[in-house]
Every structure is written in C-alpha cells, then in structure tokens.
Amino acid sequence: MAVVQDVHGHHDHHPSGIMRWVMTTNHKDIGTLYLWFSFAMFLVGGFLAMGIRAELFMPGIQILEPELFNSFTTLHGLIMVFGAIMPAFVGLANWQVPMMIGAPDMAFARMNNWSFWLLPVAGMLLISSFFVPGGAAAGGWTFYPPLSAQGGLGVDMMIFAIHILGASSIMGAINIITTILNMRAPGMTLMKMPMFVWTWLITAYLLVLVMPVLAGTVTMLLTDRHFGTSFFNAAGGGDPVLFQHIFWFFGHPEVYIMILPAFGIVSEIVPTFSRKPLFGYASMVYATASIAILSCIVWAHHMFTAGMPTVGQLFFMYATMLIAVPTGVKVFNWTATMWRGSLTFETPMLFAIGFIFLFVIGGFSGVICAIVPIDIQVQDTYYVIAHFHYVLVSGALFAIFGGVYYWLPKWCGRMYDVKLANMHFWLSMIFFNVAFFVQHFLGLAGMPRRIPDYSLQFADFNMISSIGAFGFGLSQILFLYIVIKCIRSGEKAADKPWEGANTLEWTLPSPAPYHSFETPPVIK
C-alpha cells in the first residue's frame, strides 16, 4: 500500500514528570510503561509463588492457612498470565512493531494510552482483593464453578479485573492489527515483515477472537452470582461443565497468545547471532498460522476427566498431538538457522537457545499430557504444573528476557553489564530446572496440585523444588539491577550493537529517537 505521509512539525517536547507518562500517546513511552508494569506484576506474582513454595518446603501446614494458600495459587496464576506475561508482550509490540515496519507510531495512539492505563486498575483490584472480607478468589486461576459461584467479594473483584484486562487486551490487539496491516513502510509486503511482527499479527487476531468469549464467560459467572441466572448452576438447570467448555474455548488459544510472540522474538534473535537469514521464513509464517488455527479446536483436552464420550476424547487427543507438527517445523527451522552459522553467544542468544531447549521439553510433556489415558492419570498433578511452567516460564518468560536483552541497547542507548546479564541467564537456567524438573517426578508419583500439604514421600523433591524456586526468584532481582544499572550508567551502545541484525529498528540511532520514521523508509 503506497502511503505518503506528511510530517507536520517536530514536536519532540512533551510534558515532563509524571504527566508525561499519564498523558503519553507515544508508542515508545507506552511500551516502557507496559514493560515496567508487567515487571511489577511479575514481582507480585513471584512473591505469591515464593509463598507457595515456602509452604510446600516441608510437609504439614507452616506458613499459609489452606484458604490463603488457595488464594495464593489462584492469584499467582491470574497475575502471571494476565498481569506479567501478556502485558510484557504488548509492551514489546508497542516498542518494536512500529520500528520494525517503519511506522511513525501505533495506529490509535490515544486508545493505546487508554489500553495501558486500564491495566494498573485491574492489577490493583486483584491485589487488593486479598484484603477484603473473605479474601481473594481461591478457586484456581481457571475459576471453575461451583467454587467461583461461591466465594465473597474477592471473586467479584477478580471478575471485574478480568473484564478490564480483557477490554485492555482487545484494544491493544485492535491497535496492533491496524498498525501492522495499514501502516507498513512502502515496499514492506506481508511476506517481508520480520517474524516478530508476523507472530504478533496472528496473536492479535487470536486475542480479538477469544478475549470477548472470556468476557462473556465471566459475565455469565457474574450474573449467576448476583442476578439469578443459572448458566452454570445445576440447581437452575445450568451445567458446571459448560463453564469449562466456554472457559477453555478461550483458555487454549490463550496459551498460544502467550507463546506465539515468544516464537517471534526467538526468530529474530537466532538469525542475528547465527549471522544467517532465518531458515524457512515462509514455513515459519504458515506454521504460526496453523498453530493458531489448531489452537481453537483442541480446548477439551483440558477436560478429559470431566466426562466426555470416547470419540470426543479421541478427536481432541489427535487434534492436540497435531499441533506438535507445526511446532516441530519451528524448532527445526531455528536449529537449521543455527546450523553452520557463525554463532556467538551473547545474552539474548543464550536466552533464545535456553528457550528452544527447555520449550521442547515442555512441548514433549505437552504431547504426553495429550494422550488420554496418561492425562487421566496426571490430571491436576504436579506433572501438569511442570509442563506448563516449562512452556510459560522457560518458554514465554525466557523469550521476553531474551527480547529485552536484545533490544535494551536500542531502547536506552546504553549497553547492559554483559557479565551480569550472562550470570542472570545461567542462574535462571539452573534454578528454573532445579525448581521445575523434579515436579515431573512429583506429578508422576501422584502429588496433586493446589494442596498446601502432601504425604511424606514427596518431601525431598518438594524441598529441592522450593530451593530452586527461591533461587529463581532471587535471580530476577538481579535482572532488575541489571536493567537499572544499564539505564543509569551503562556504556554507550552503538546504533547497531549486533552485527548480524537486519531489521529496520537497527537503522535508527541508539537510543531510538522519541519520534521515528516520520518519513517512512523505503524497503527494497
């Protein structure tokens, strides 16, 4: 699409102090806000995780009463999914998508501001629900009825928070889709877009597809609780299993919403540090699209034990296992990109390789969970916990870390302390595996999730897991220190600190100017 843009004046000046951040419509400022918010939420969710692991350090009830423990697991899940991982990806998209496609800003700058500032409200609702009578929601992050039909004010606050987060996500997704489809620099066809932009385009479509369904689900829950409807209330002719179907219709695409942008980040980092173009670019695009489509027809594999005809179980089992094919294509392409490349192992590359290695483990345990007879055995055990932490922590989170280390020099014009950053990677890598690898064994031995106490035979592995979790948690404080040190006193970074990087953002000076690409670049 040929777009001629006039540049009406340079207005680099913006309000200073706090009002700069409250009123900003600049995609870079909003990206920064998203990233800091998600890191703050990551610390809150991490604190809850530390509480959970401290309670599970030894058998018996020591620190958290069972009800509070349940609130901790519930809010840990909600805050990490909706408060940490998703906003972090939206923050990366805000910073990177306009710069990578040569656009001056996001399509709807003011809506962008609004979609960010809804988030702290929702975050505060979730956190403050701990302090209302009855405490925070305690029915698990999936808030299945009938537990979520009971519960006090905390559950209503959670429902309201999810409404707000959903609205924010939908607005963010609409913004990203419009930006990518309408505002690319002349000459940048769809199939010339960087992979990170491609994965975000597909993710944004998934978001507008399923977030409204989640909004509908929590609305039904709300009316069941307060307005006398009976969608999920068996007494009134409703069905609690219906909730699970509608929830997972959202929930399964949601897990791909949290991993597709991670695929995109890794697909940027791996070619840069292999000094080769991405192997199989087109197949990467098609694999991403097929993962997104398949993700919409596999939801009931979360419900094999909820009661389902055998033919249903077979369908969802095979459909789920089919996702391993496009995912395998991606892993193959990353490996083939590295094959005979001039590899160097800077921090982003370490995180990307760590991602590939550990995500494959998580992917394989996912295929194992997809097999109905095994899933019936491991349903709601620590095996499932281990599986989804391998794909969400060493998957999504490692990719976010990799992305931050990759683009941080561009964002703030300074280089981070490479030694410390590498140390952050190795500490995270080691402690993550100490914390979560043993949980596979706990799950196979039958330790159930969401229970504050356990039988004595699980004691050793739980202690190992807790030590790993504490180490992993502390390592993230190091990350905060590295970023702050980089912003305040890092060495001056070159415009293109990575020699193998080829995307548009590296043509800009470092730090990226407040307004970039006001005259669109021309792509050959």
Binding site: I174, N182, V213, L214, G236, L242, I246
Partner: protein, 176 residues
Amino acid sequence: MTQSVTNINVTMLKKLLIFSAIMFGFGYALVPMYEKFCEVTGINNLLQPNAVDKNIKVDMSRTIAIELDANVRGMPWQFKPLQSSVKIHPGESIEVMYEIRNMSDQEFTGQAIPSYSPRFLEKYLKKFECFCFTKQVLKPGEVRQMPVKFVIDPEIPVDVNTVTISYTFFALQPGK
C-alpha cells in the same frame, strides 16, 4: 498522518470492534449450542424420560442392590426415600417412592437433580417416570409422595453389584 490513512484505520477499528462484539455474543451462543449438542448426541439427558425398549429381557441370574439417597440444598424441605435400598434383577422394571415435605410456612418451588454412582450408570439406567423431570411446587406444610420408575439395562457390566441413585433438591427462584 494523512487523512486517507486515518480513514482506513478507523474503518479497520470499526470492523474489529464489530468482530469483538460478535465474539462476545458467540460466547453466549455457545450455551444453546452446547445444550443442543448434548441433546442430539444423547449426552447428559438426565432430566428427560428414556424411550422404553420392549425387548429388554430380565436377567434372573444377577441381582443388583440399589441404594437410594436424597438431599436438599438451601430450602426448608425434608426429602427422603421411603425405602433406603432395593434389590432388583437387571431388566426388571421397578418403582420406588420418595417423599418431600415443606417444613416452612411459605410456598417453595424446587427441582431435583439426579446423580449416579458409578457415573456410567446413566448409560444403563432407563427412567420412564421421575419427579425430577418437572419442577415441584409445595404449599406450606404440604407433603407429597413421588415415584421413580426405571429399569436397569442387562448390558450393565457384570462386576457391578451395587449402585447408588442420589437426588438433590435445589430451590428455584420464584417465576422460573
């Protein structure tokens, strides 16, 4: 930004907002779709009478003990089976009686929801008549005896000797 780009963007925004609204509605549309799906495939139709197969043969060689259970949730009713258990041969038709009593001085409407153990019993339990097919309205102090007529399909696995049929009465809000 030129006017044309802004216009294209706003058109896109409108389309995507409409799409989001449709998906919100789709979430609600899943409710009747789910019910229709269960009805068509015969899953979960505990509240409809089963068709009677005249050709069911009584299997005199087996006896199955049926435990009867009754519960009330959130209403001042007393609900009990008139016999706590019965023994029948698979294929034999039987009628058991339950009694509800409204202990309060207000009219209440309730609906009984069945629950079976083992869970696969629902496939083999054919009910011709049940108070759970309809809602029950009890005036203050009223007592009512209600039958359940059913047959257990002789196809039921041979290792099943005892089954439990449980009903729970839930209060329905007025006007439902």
